[in-house]
């Protein structure tokens, strides 16, 4: 039997180091037993992925049946207009939103991208039924693409960078300011008016002020600790 010279505990014959202090076992009278089985197995277990097939099947069938039945009703009974496209599009959109529930393995970025594409598709259906003045291509589509890009940016920031809640809040405010300004500019373009910032300047100013305050708090440790103390839950 070998004892740890540092901790004074007896070690299992297969231990080459003391698990408590990592002192190497050097016992010329009893070398480390490398043949006997260790007290714990060497095989590492892995958690099997959760099977959500029942939920997937249930939600998919409910949505598919809803879409199908509404489509048939529209074709055969209530033929006034193509109202069923709203329901079919809505079902397709819900299905896309549910993708992370169906499979935990789907990349969150891909899921968000598909959500953006789904929303664009739904706006497209509305635009097809109510073409208007080209509002879809000049307003709804670019705004959806922009919103998706900003959400993706935030998701990447949260997942890749270990940042505090304050830093994340600063990013959200920055994105909100940029999004508001671009909304106003796109509306100006849509109405073919001169490009200028008016109402979005108020949002921009508020966001800049709060962002400046947040960045100051983030950069000054003493201030950050004070805020943490006062705001702790």
């Amino acid at each position: 039997m070998s004892y740890c010279v540092n901790c004074g505990v007896e070690l299992h014959a297969t231990c080459s180091e003391c698990p408590l202090c990592r002192t190497v076992v050097q016992n010329p009278r009893q070398p480390v037993d490398r043949d006997s089985p260790t007290p714990f197995p060497g095989r590492k277990g892995d958690v099997a992925p959760v099977q959500k097939s029942d939920v997937t099947i249930l939600i998919s069938i409910v949505l598919a049946v809803t879409a199908g039945v509404c489509g048939l009703l529209n074709l055969m009974v209530f033929r006034g207009n193509s109202w069923s496209l709203y329901v079919i599009g809505g079902c397709a959109l819900l299905w896309v939103f549910c993708l992370p529930v169906f499979s935990g393995r789907i990349s969150p970025y891909l899921s968000l991208l598909l959500d953006g594409a789904g929303i664009s598709m739904y706006f497209g259906i509305v635009a097809w039924l109510h073409p208007g003045n080209g509002w879809y291509l000049r307003l709804a589509f670019p705004l959806t693409v922009l919103a998706t890009a900003l959400v993706l940016l935030f998701a990447a920031f949260v997942r890749q960078i270990h940042a505090s809640v304050l830093t994340r809040a600063a990013l959200v405010l920055g994105e909100t300011a940029a999004f508001t300004v671009i909304i106003e500019l796109l509306i100006d373009l849509y109405w073919q008016a001169a490009l200028q910032i008016t109402w979005s300047a108020i949002v921009l100013t508020c966001c800049v002020i709060i962002d400046a305050a947040l960045i100051t708090i983030i950069r000054r440790t003493r201030l950050r600790e004070e805020v943490r103390r006062r705001m702790h839950i």
Binding site: C4, C7, G8, V9, E10, L11, H12, T14, C15, S16, E17, C18, P19, L20, C21, R22, V32, D33, R34, P37, T38, P39, F40, P41, G42, R43, K44, G45, D46, V47, A48, V50, Q51, K52, G104, I233
Partner: protein, 434 residues
Amino acid sequence: MNMSKRTNHKTPWYRLDLSAIVYPTLQRRNFSSVYRLTAVLKEKVEPNLLQRAVDQTLPRFPTFKVAMRKGVFWRYLEPNNRPGPFVEPDIMNPCMPMSFQNSSRYLIRIYYYQNRISLEVFHSLSDGSGAMCLLKTITAVYLRMKGYPIPSGQGVLELSEKPQAEELEDAYLRYASSRVRPPRSRDKTYRIRGTREPFYTLNIITGILKVQQVLSVSKHYQVSVTEYLNAVLLHALLQKQKEDHVFRELPVSIAMPVNLRRFFPSKTLRNFITMVYPSIDPRMGEYTFEEILLQVHHYMRYYINNKFLNADITTNAAVTKNPLIRVVPLFIKDLVVRQFYKRVQDKQSSAGLTNLGVVETPDEMRPHIERFDVLMGQPFSARTNCAVVSYGDTLSISFASSIVEADVERLFFCRLVKDGIHVMIESNRKTGVK
């Protein structure tokens, strides 16, 4: 008598007991409230026989042969007649997260390795005492299959008997009768600083001691074994806090489950425990080991009695009896409970310590069993949990930790060695094994 088993013509189902409600809400991709009990036999385990023993035993324990289901307002357990659970070769990272959907929805796992039989249980099913009863019965049935005449009794249940109603009851509801409900707010406590291990790694260090040695040391200090081990762990945590050179010292506290069956007679095989929190506040001054012992001794004597424990379980029961809380949808309850646990409950203790006490078995089993081990499982946050159990003259103390550093374990066992107790160490740490 409040019965938690509801009979609806054909399909019985079980409400989760008061303790069991919390554990599923804490379920994460990388965390489940799973603990492990191990019987170390004197001969190598035969997996085929073990599987047969499990198959024969489980119908006698209907609350273990269940699946977790979600209702609109609460979760519940329903009988699970899918094939399984199947015995598996053991793994080096026990108490892995347990999904409610996988493994045919069973919430127990049975492993074998060399001469060990290990049972892992999701905490919503039972506490350590209930699960120990299952493990002892499985082991007894296994030994009978090997040809040894093992009688029932001492926690080994008779398979030919039908499960008794009392074994399936939610005993909390039977005994929660205090007219006052003590407040629960507690201070924030010291959190162990350490490097988190990668996903699914659980570091185990088991110390094997002689019961007689520990008893004589405890007797020397005029305290019980549980009080002595609590004091040693508190002392280790205080030393660790000092070594960390923290900016602001905080109280050091241990979350210790108390088996309520000792105070409120019940045969239930489900959860029937409550927590007590022996603690030391170093801001009041430097504590010697003897002073810590005295503090723990008096704390235990003051709080661990049927009056205080009754008040505590009444506070728990009040939450689930409140009609306003009952009608809140489950997903909101989950959200609130998870946040409460994360921000308040989990911060109220620096480590966990459970003492299952002396395991009794029929005398005929003793020649075939070397010892029992218990593992508290993966801690919710970065810290270490300690579990104690004794069998015959062997006391087993197992630490389960999800951090790389083993400072608390080292300080704990070094204190035992300093008190003249012989400690034999086993571990699954990569640096410690060949």
